[in-house]
Symmetry: C2
Subunit: 208 residues, 2 copies
């Protein structure tokens, strides 16, 4: 790689174990063999809405990455981009890098709000009231995202280029637990092939 | 700047004039003094759902950037990142660059789905049925995003660092027309100061 790796110092991750957004970061740190300290934050107990947490991330969301000099970075996909700098998981070519970003944006706008939100409602809340009305739209949007990925992966081994990048890591996080939101991955053979390929990576860690 | 500017060749933008996501790209291209061809795509007439358009972007959304060799890039914030490479609008420092991405992610996840969606419903659809039930949540989310930005801009001239970046451009697009979704920007003085500062940039172009 032509870009120099960033020297991070010691790292701390504020995270909720059932968050796919947090798992993206944990998976990349494992692939990079990068040690870090973990501070669990319980979303269900309102711990992302305390004054202390909002001082770290005014948007009140996990994950948050903290450097040893106290600087903090929010937004899982921005954290992936930062940590992958200078590694094999972020292409240096401007076009390939832009394509990685295209898929990171797709993940946050057209995948996560459907699959992750529906999964969260089913596991931790309920489908009453407005959520019940929205569940069908979430399911349609989630199927559309999985269908688009399956189509793409039927012609490409990984999401961008010939090797695994942070675009794969970002999309893997909630896709590999989409069954927990009632999505049937068996309907998407290329997606299933890709999920298996990611799970076989050296240094792979599971979500829990 | 240490990074070399990308040589783009001739550019074509597929866009819908009332799209703030498209306007982000048009504003950056104007600031860069970069000529381009524009192909209008009418969302309201279903022109992003035709087989021809879906072959360009399977996710069926504008904007799409097309290079002269036929390569195409979707997702407004990825397009901004690509076009800003090697310019003053994208920091080269890895931390500042990650902060730019943090705010691009914030825009797509915590700002656009509230403010832009509500604006779209009001201008082009209606607030009947499920949309009516969701309008209040959209309004709350939009106010939260504007409040967070106002707080941040009360201590910072621009979103990241000392100069304008693509994070400002991305957030400007739908913030400066938030009044069209019923948001009162007068409640946010630092946001208003920043909006005026962006609008006074040399080579600034309006949305329409």
């Amino acid at each position: 790689m032509s870009a120099a790796a960033v020297s991070f110092g010691s790292l701390r991750l504020y995270d909720y174990p059932d968050s796919g957004n947090g798992y993206k970061v944990r998976l990349l740190l494992a692939l990079l063999a990068r040690p870090y300290a973990l501070t669990p934050v319980d979303i269900l107990k309102g711990e992302t809405r305390t004054p202390e947490f909002l001082a770290m991330n005014p948007n009140g969301r996990v994950p948050v990455l903290e450097l040893d000099d106290g600087r903090r970075l929010a937004e899982s996909n921005a954290i992936l981009f930062y940590l992958a700098h200078g590694s094999q998981y972020l292409p240096t070519d401007p076009w390939e890098r832009a394509k990685v970003l295209q898929w990171l944006c797709f993940e946050q706008y057209s995948h996560e709000p459907y699959i992750a939100t529906l999964r969260y409602w089913i596991r931790h809340v309920d489908l009453n009231g407005t959520r019940g009305l929205l569940a069908e739209e979430k399911r349609r949007g989630g199927e559309a995202a999985l269908r688009l990925m399956n189509e793409h992966l039927s012609a490409h081994r990984f999401i961008v280029g010939h090797d695994l990048t942070i675009a794969d890591i970002a999309l893997y996080a909630y896709t590999h637990v989409a069954n927990q939101a009632g999505f049937d991955i068996d309907r998407y053979p290329s997606l299933k092939r890709w999920l298996n390929e990611v799970a076989k990576l050296p240094r792979y860690v599971p979500m829990f």
